[in-house]
Each structure stands twice: as C-alpha cells, then as structure tokens.
C-alpha cells in the first residue's frame, strides 16, 4: 500500500516523459506535478513546496546539479531523486555527494522508482 504523503515535483525537459510519469504517480494516489525545464522547476518549487523532487540530470537551460544545489538552498529537507540517462553511475554518485537522496537510470522501472520515493518519503518523515 502506497502511503506517500509528500508532494512530488518532476523536473525533466522531456515533456512527454515528465507528464506521463506524473500521471502514473497520480494514478497511484500520489500528489505529483511536472515542470519542463530547470527554471520552470524552480518556480514550481516555490509554488508547490514539494517534499520530493525527481530531477533530470541533463537539461538544456541548466544542469540537474545546479538545480539540485538551488533546491537544497531553498529547502534542505526536500529529497531529490536524480534521473540519469547516461548509464553513468559516476554522475549519479556525484549528485549523491551533493545532497541527492538517490539516483535512477532511464528508462525507469516504475516499481523501483516508487520504492525509492517511498524511502525518500520515509526519510523525510524521520527528519
């Protein structure tokens, strides 16, 4: 049973990907929003106040790592799950070093992602 209370914000420049993932999370009873660039994401962040952000590492306007930094500056308690498309554990590890909760590789396995979101939510609650 999914008991995720935190609001989730998905920031990814691939509109189709972000919106579909958003819909799928909503279908599972979660409160999810999507933004399609780093800038848009940061605006939404302030409007929505999400507990968890799913953030793409590579975006045209600004890099995922920059957005991550700004998110953490805005609210340190927001848990960020980085999405990497490189098959590169290196970038994921780097992001983790900069405060990301976890990283997941595209294409996503929804079950794995939900497990990660669940862990992040649990983590938030502990804090």
């Amino acid at each position: 049973m999914i008991t995720i209370k935190s609001k989730i914000l998905i920031i990814d420049d691939e509109v189709e990907f972000a919106s579909t993932l958003c819909q799928r999370l909503k279908l599972r009873g979660m409160t999810a929003f999507d933004a399609h660039s780093g800038t848009e994401g940061l605006v939404s962040l302030k409007e929505i106040h999400p507990g968890i952000v799913i953030l793409d590492l590579k975006m045209p306007d600004m890099s995922g790592l920059t957005v991550l930094k700004k998110i953490k500056e805005y609210d340190e308690r927001i848990e960020v799950i980085m999405l990497t498309g490189h098959g590169s554990s290196g970038s994921g590890t780097e992001a983790k070093g900069k405060g990301a909760f976890a990283y997941a590789m595209k294409p996503l396995d929804i079950k794995e992602l939900i497990d990660t979101i669940q862990s992040a939510d649990n983590q938030r609650r502990k804090v």
């Binding site: 990907f17 098959g87 595209k106």
Partner: protein
C-alpha cells in the same frame, strides 16, 4: 635547389609517400637501395679518383723533373771533364810553345826530347811540328813522313794565326789515322810574323777519355762537330765520320723538352747552348741532350734510352692501381652492405610504423565507434524512456480498469513491449558503459587472486561443459594498483567467451607473468576452434558477433577492450583456426602509467 630536390627525390623515394594505401612496394626499396648505393659510390669514388689522378700526374711530373735534373747534372759533369781535359792539353801545348823557344825547338834533337817528355805524360801525342811565319814546316818529329809541308792555304793555319790557338775536328788527313790537332801561334821574338807549334793527338785519346767518363747513366755518349759529324765512336747511335741521324731529325716543340743555356757554373766558365730532346727513335723512347763544349769545336751528345725511373714509375703505377682498385672494391662492398643494411632497417621501421599506424587506426576506429554508439544510445534512451512511461501508463490504466474483452491480450502485449524496452535498455546501458568516462576507483590488487575469484563464477558452467580450467600463475608477480570492478569484468568476459567458443570438452589456461617492473601480463588461452583472420580483425568492434542471433549482443569484447584501455593497459588477441585463441592483457602495475 629545385633540381637538387628533384634528383634527391628521384634517387631516394620516400617509401611511405609512394603509395596511397601505405603499403610499401618491394621495388621501392630496391630503387632506394640502388639510389643510396649510387650516391655513396659517387661520394666515395669521386674524391678517390681525383686523388689518384692528381697523384699520378704529380708523381710523374716530379719524376720527370728529377730525371731532367739528373740528365743535366751528368751532361754538365761530362762537359766539364772534357773541357778540362782539352784545356789541359791546350795549356801544355801553349807552355811548350813559349815565345822564346822558337830557336830551341827548331833543333831536331831538342824537339825530339820535348816530344818524348810530352808523350811520357800523354801517350796520345802523335807528332809535333813547327811552322814558320810563311806557313812552311820548319821542324817535325813523329812517326809519319810529313816533312816540308806548307800550310799557307790551310784554313786551320789561318785560324791559328787569327785566334792564337786552334783545335781541329777529328780527321784522318795525311796520316790516315783519326786524329785531331792543337795548334798555337807565337810571335817571332826577333822578326815580324808568328811561328806555329802544332801537335797532333790521336783520336783514340779522346775516345778513351769519353769511354771512361761515360757513366752507367748514359746509354751512349759521343762527340759531334758543328756539322753533326760524329767525332768519337758511339756505341749505337751512328758511326765515326758520318752525320748523326738522330741530331738531324726535325725537332718539334713537343719533342723539345729544354732548349736553354747552361748557366755559368762554379768553375766560372761561360754559358753553353743546351738542348734536350725526347723522341721515339727506331721504336725506342729516347732522350738526348746536346751541349756545346766551350773552347772546342765539338758538342757532347748524351743519350738515355729510357727513363731512369722507368721501373720506379712502373712500380708506382702498379701500386697506385692496386691501391685504387682495392679501395674501389672495398668501397663498393662496404657501400652495398651499408645501403642494404640501411634499406633493411628502413623497411623494418616502415613495417613497424605501418603496424603502429594500423594499431592506432584500429583503436581510433574503436574509439570513434564507441563515441558514435554512446551518442546513438543516448538519443535512443530518451524516446525509450517515453515509450517505457507511456506503456507503463497504459498498463496502469488497463490494470485498474474492469475486465473487458481482450484485456488479457492487452496486458500480455504491454508486458511484451516492456520486455522489449528492457532489452533495449540493457543494450543502451552497455553501449554507454563502453564509452563512459567514469572515474576509476583504484586499489592495490593481487592479480592472481582476482583471476581466481572471477573464474569461480564460471566454474560450474565449465564443469557442465566438461571444460577444464587450468592456472599457470606466477606467484612472484607484483601487486598492481588498478580498478577491481572493470578488471573482473575483463577476465569474466574473456573467459566466458572462451567457454562459449569451446562449447564442450576443452581447456582454458589462465596464466600470469611479470613483463617488466612496470607491467604485468595475463594470458587467457583456449583450445577452441579459433577464429579466421577476418573475424579476428573485427573482434573488438561493437555489435560484431559470431554467435547466433539473440545469443550475444556483440558488446562483450568491445566493452572489454574499452575497459582495458581505460585501465591504461593493452589487449591483444591471436588465434589459429583449429588451434585456439590467446588473449594477452598487459596492465600497468601503477595506475596512470
């Protein structure tokens, strides 16, 4: 400069630029070798020839000068000796014919006594006579019946009156024996006119004297008069009393070596005409010198048949030719050896360069393919994620919906799509892994232990296929600083491939050895079916597989290649069809070397 470059290019073609393909043709090297040999030959032989020619001329010139000096010296010695001899005879006659002795010598007894004294000194004195101012003989002593002669009309008589002294040519005259005359005229003490003392000397006296002084140096020496009539008997070149043919021959400028005057020598004598001529006479090369004998009507002729230094000259020429030929032979041999050695060296280094070039080209090609694959994978990955999400969404909706017709079919279809997406995902991830630029996490690794650990994963599979895995690990091999994960993957991939290649019943040997202080090497050898050269060439290319469709992705070895390179190592593979395949992985002992 352009010409120089043109000829240099002609002679020394650059082998690698000759062919666009980089394949160096054999004839190019032959051409190069010949060109190089030719240049070296010219460089060596030109100065050698020049030195030889110069030496030849110089030595010849020196010998000729030496020859000439010697000839002139001998001639001068001969000339001086004869002149002194004649001068001595003349002095004696002059002494005898003192002005006041006229009356004394008219007395036959006194004349006889005088003549006997003279003959004691010079046995060649034939007779003596006294002629008065009228040219009539007043006294005579000698073996011939020559009394009461009158010489008034004789040329010699006029000459002696004119010059005071007269020396005649050698002639036979009234005596019918070759002789010459020395006459001296003296003033009458008590009346006008001159009386004359005339002494006849046998020609043999002069002949003997010439024979004595004729040194071994001269091949012939004799006297001639101003008309070139031979005065003393030559050994070869003429007869006494006849004209000397040799001296009458026309002298051209090229024959005439020297036509000068002998300078006043130390004895203070006046200079004399000297002529040295070289010519071929009766098939023989001769040099003859003619010099005026001062105070006599004669010329001294000296003949040398051959160069004094003919032998020395011949020996020099033989030596020079021997040295020259020896140098040429040695130079030719050495130059051909050198040029073929250089060509061989060049060919080998070209071959090596070619090999390195193709290796570099190969790894460059692999790197390009890797980059291309990563780009493709990255581009595919995004739409793949969308397919994944969209399918997932539809799947979610279908699962949440009530049962409807064909629901199961639809669920199955979605699952199938998801499986395919997952398969693509694996491929893109592996492709990206092939080209990824992650940091290497280094640690000290016991390579033998790592090899064994890896093989443990595959032991069961090998066992089922009756494949024996053997180790030949050098325990003294040094530990290396490297990244364990990629290393394991490398050994795993290769060993796994070996198992697949063998199929069943075979052997895989893993060995380790220390190459040098900075490198170690792991060899993985199987006795499988091996690979033809065509396959071997492409073995590290991504997506190249010989396995059945669906069984292999063709990425295993390309990833392995990428990993080894990333670890700073090198991987080589050799294979023989029917014999098996050998992978050699060389790794640096220290990371980053």
């Amino acid at each position: 400069m352009k010409h120089y470059q043109y000829w240099l290019d002609k002679l020394l073609p650059s082998p690698l630029t000759e062919s666009n393909t980089g394949v160096v043709k054999k004839r190019d090297y032959k051409y190069f070798s010949r060109g190089l040999a030719l240049i070296l030959l010219v460089l060596v032989l030109a100065p050698l020839t020049l030195i030889s020619v110069v030496s030849h001329h110089q030595y010849k010139h020196l010998l000729q000068e030496e020859e000439m000096t010697q000839l002139i010296l001998n001639l001068e010695t001969g000339k001086n000796t004869i002149e002194e001899f004649v001068s001595e005879l003349q002095s004696i006659v002059k002494f005898v014919a003192r002005d006041d002795r006229y009356q004394e010598v008219l007395n036959p007894e006194e004349l006889e006594a005088l003549f006997i004294r003279l003959q004691k000194e010079y046995p060649g004195f034939a007779d003596i006579e006294i002629i008065d101012a009228e040219g009539s003989q007043k006294a005579y002593f000698g073996p011939y019946q020559l009394e009461d002669q009158n010489y008034t009309d004789q040329i010699w008589y006029k000459e002696v009156l004119l010059r005071g002294v007269y020396i005649s040519n050698i002639f036979s005259g009234f005596r019918h024996v070759p002789h010459f005359v020395i006459a001296v005229s003296r003033k009458h003490p008590d009346k006008p006119g001159h009386w004359v003392l005339r002494v006849t000397i046998e020609g043999s006296t002069l002949q003997n004297f010439i024979n004595t002084i004729s040194s071994s140096y001269a091949d012939d020496m004799f006297l001639v008069d101003s008309e070139c009539i031979v005065q003393t008997q030559p050994q070869k070149y003429g007869k006494i009393g006849e004209k000397c043919i040799l001296l009458l021959m026309e002298d051209t400028a090229e024959h005439c070596i020297s036509n000068s005057k002998l300078e006043k020598n130390t004895t203070g004598k006046e200079s004399a005409d000297l002529m040295i001529v070289k010519r071929t006479f009766q098939g023989q090369e001769i040099t003859h010198a003619v010099v005026d004998l001062i105070g006599t009507p004669w010329k001294l002729v000296l003949i040398k048949e051959q160069y004094l230094y003919a032998n020395t000259w011949l020996q020099f020429k033989i030596k020079l030719a021997t040295i020259f030929l020896t140098c040429v032979i040695i130079a030719v041999l050495i130059i051909f050896e050198i040029s073929s050695a250089i060509t061989k060296h060049l060919r080998e280094s070209d071959k090596k360069r070619q090999q390195l070039y193709s290796e570099a080209e190969h790894s460059n090609k692999l790197a390009s393919i890797g980059r291309l694959a990563a780009g493709v994978a990255h581009e595919i990955n995004n739409p793949l994620s969308i397919i994944n999400q969209k399918t997932g969404l539809v799947q979610d909706i279908v699962e949440m919906s009530d049962d409807f017709e064909h629901k199961t079919l639809m669920v199955d279809a979605h699952e199938s799509i998801q499986n395919s997406v997952n398969r693509c995902k694996k491929i893109t991830h592996r492709l990206l892994g092939f080209a990824r630029q992650t940091d290497v996490q280094v640690e000290e690794i016991d390579i033998n232990a790592t090899v064994k650990e890896v093989v443990e994963f595959l032991e069961k599979e090998a066992l089922y296929n009756q494949i024996e895995i053997a180790f030949d690990l050098d325990q003294s091999v040094s530990k290396i600083v490297s990244d364990r994960g990629p290393l394991q993957q490398v050994f795993l991939n290769i060993t796994n491939n070996a198992i697949d290649a063998i199929g069943s019943h075979g052997k895989i040997t893993l060995s380790s050895r220390q190459v040098d202080q900075k490198h170690i090497q792991i060899k993985i050898q199987d006795n499988g079916p091996g690979m033809p050269a065509k396959v071997l060439k492409r073995i590290f290319e991504p997506f190249f597989t010989t396995k059945e469709t669906g069984k292999g992705t063709g990425l295993g070895l390309s990833i392995t290649y990428g990993l080894v390179k990333k670890l700073g190592g090198d991987i080589k593979v050799t294979s023989e069809v029917g014999e098996g395949t050998l992978f050699q992985i060389t790794l640096p002992t220290q990371h980053g070397e």
